[in-house]
């Protein structure tokens, strides 16, 4: 694996007015070319960890670096040319065509007044095609289904021509097909195009099959980290999610089944 993209060292962050730190003493890194998963219960600090690594929050303790520099010191346009982010929730208030929405991904390159050229239009088209959303180009964003909107936002991140893709719970309200499509797209960009991917998800069974490495967060701390085969175990999941599970190997890869109360023996 290549250079380190993101690194957390003894990273700690407290939201103002909250006693418990949201992220506490986290050590963690993402190397170039990896697809890394961040997993953990609701409120375990996954998104806060991301926001620290993306330079939106400043650490209260320790360090959060991106490309060997404190993450919060990057200028936003410069950062946006390297890292494409799809945040959890985004609801457009004003009507936009899909093509225009994806063109916003070219703004970090064009600046405030640089011209958007035929080259930008071509990049937008490629990004739409890569995210399997080219047929949506002339639609209004407000008319898209959840899965379509997610792919359009993925296309917008790709249009940034980033080295790193960061997706925060990208499949939260998607059905099986659309969920698999997003995972497949992420795996393709990382595996075939040399991008680096960071994905926050609740989906432990997909995590074991897609990710090179996972970090499992619990109450702001790292509960386990490493390749899924060693980090994602029945014991870790039961502790972190506070629910009994069974582990069943499927083609040699562990898959986890949460148990019903009357199935606990």
């Amino acid at each position: 694996m290549g250079d380190v993209i993101f690194r957390a060292e003894q990273l700690t962050y407290r939201y103002p007015g909250v006693a418990e730190p949201a992220v506490c003493d986290v050590d963690f890194h993402v190397a170039e070319g990896e697809l890394v998963g961040i997993i953990g219960p609701n409120g375990s600090g996954k998104t806060t960890l991301l926001r620290l690594l993306l330079g939106v929050l400043k650490p209260d303790g320790g360090r959060a670096t991106a490309f060997d520099r404190p993450a919060s010191e990057w200028r936003r346009p410069q950062f946006a040319r390297m890292v494409g982010v799809v945040v959890q929730r985004e609801e457009p208030v004003f009507p936009l065509r899909v093509r225009q929405a994806v063109m916003l991904g070219r703004y970090p390159h064009a600046g405030a007044f640089g011209a958007l050229t035929a080259r930008d239009a071509a990049i937008v088209k490629t990004a739409l095609a890569d995210a399997d959303a080219l047929h949506l180009a002339e639609r209004w964003t407000a008319t898209l289904s959840a899965g379509e909107w997610q792919r359009v936002r993925l296309a917008r991140a790709l249009a940034q021509e980033p080295r790193v893709l960061v997706l925060d719970e990208p499949t939260a309200n998607l059905d099986i097909r659309h969920e698999m499509e997003v995972f497949e797209l992420a795996a393709t960009f990382v595996g075939e195009r040399g991008l680096t991917g960071v994905l926050v998800t609740h989906h432990v069974n997909l995590a074991t099959r897609y990710f090179d490495r996972v970090v499992i967060m619990n109450r702001g701390r790292v509960a386990a980290a490493g390749p899924p085969a060693t980090a994602l175990t029945r014991a870790v999941l039961e502790t972190v999610f506070e629910w009994p599970v069974d582990a069943h190997p499927w083609r040699g890869i562990p898959q986890f089944v949460p148990l019903r109360k009357n199935e606990i023996t």
Binding site: V56, L104, A112, F113, R156
Partner: protein, 323 residues
């Protein structure tokens, strides 16, 4: 390209209409001659010293209000935002009404008092909306604007109730907006002052496209969100304050014009802002012409005209939006 031809045409037509009509009832031919300085000196004065600056000022104020409305709607991500939402109109109204009630004299007394009132309201709203560590919370901004505006309106009510009849009438007419105070000097001062915030806002066009998505997505697409929000709020408020100072409170231009432009040409601010400026200016110049002539020799407050024309148009737009 076609849209700019249409907009330029609308602007020229509105300006021509505003110069051509008026309570003096001059023929178009007379107006045209007076415009180049020929004919009866009184007619020349009416056209060149009254109508031209008045129509131009109405155009600039309409443009400023429409552009500000478009900016604020994106800033607070609320399609109902308008330039007065942020408490400005209340503050300006209080300043103007106080100046009238105290019988301050001079062409600049009321505009200056209105400007002071608006600036006070801006400072107050801004102070309330800056939460921990210098972050401008746009939701708090909206609410602060509403409460500061409501408080100022209550004080306006008190001043009005205690004013003698003649001053009550002037104050009410001022509150409804109009361009009776227009002059070449007022036009020059307004144009010079307004050009700065107009340029600042226009230069933020792409950032506004990003900000309309929400602060978090905007940040990850390269917008420096916090300084951006502060700059936008201050530039938009200072522009509106100047508009209110020279013309009183003119409603609906800042609310409906941006929506009309969005429906016609979409939501890219590089187009939306200048198109709103031109269309808002055209509308207000035409509305002022109507205000001067509908019940001549009496003049309607132009704010009444924009509301009477604006509300039905807006109702239709909202229906279209909903479906």
């Amino acid at each position: 390209m076609k849209r700019w031809v249409v907009l330029a045409g609308a602007a020229l037509a509105a300006l021509a209409l505003g110069v051509a009509v008026g309570p003096a009832g001059l023929d178009t031919a007379v107006v045209a001659r007076a415009l180049v300085g020929r004919g009866d000196p009184i007619e020349v004065a009416i056209v060149r010293d009254l109508r031209v600056p008045r129509v131009s000022l109405a155009f600039l104020v309409g443009g400023a209000l429409a552009m500000t409305g478009a900016v604020l709607q994106a800033l607070v991500r609320n399609p109902l935002a308008d330039p007065y939402l942020l408490g400005l109109s209340g503050g300006a109204g209080l300043g103007a009404v106080l100046a009238i009630a105290l019988g301050l004299q001079g062409a600049w007394a009321v505009p200056l008092a209105a400007a002071v009132g608006a600036l006070t309201a801006i400072a107050l709203v801004y102070r309330l909306a800056v939460v921990a560590s210098g972050v401008l919370d746009t939701r708090v901004l909206l609410l602060s604007g509403v409460v500061v505006g409501a408080f100022a309106s209550a004080l306006v009510g008190a001043v009005l109730a205690l004013s003698p009849a003649e001053q009550l009438r002037s104050a009410l007419l001022w509150l409804l907006g109009g361009f009776d105070g227009a002059s070449w000097k007022a036009l020059a001062v307004f144009a010079a002052y307004a050009s700065i915030p107009v340029i600042i806002l226009y230069r933020a066009s792409r950032s506004l496209d990003l900000l309309s998505l929400g602060e978090e997505p905007a940040r990850f697409l390269g917008a420096d969100v916090e300084p951006l929000k502060r700059t936008l709020y201050i530039a938009a408020s200072l522009l509106t304050a100047a508009a209110v100072a020279v013309s009183g409170i003119i409603g609906f231009v800042g609310l409906i014009i941006p929506h009309a432009v969005r429906l016609l040409w979409g939501h890219t601010h590089r187009v939306l802002l200048p198109a709103s400026f031109l269309l808002g200016g055209s509308l207000l110049a035409a509305a002022d012409a109507l205000a001067r002539t509908a019940f001549a020799p009496l003049t309607l407050p132009v704010g009444v005209v924009t509301a009477v024309v604006g509300v039905p148009v807006f109702a239709v737009l909202v229906r279209r939006w909903a479906t």
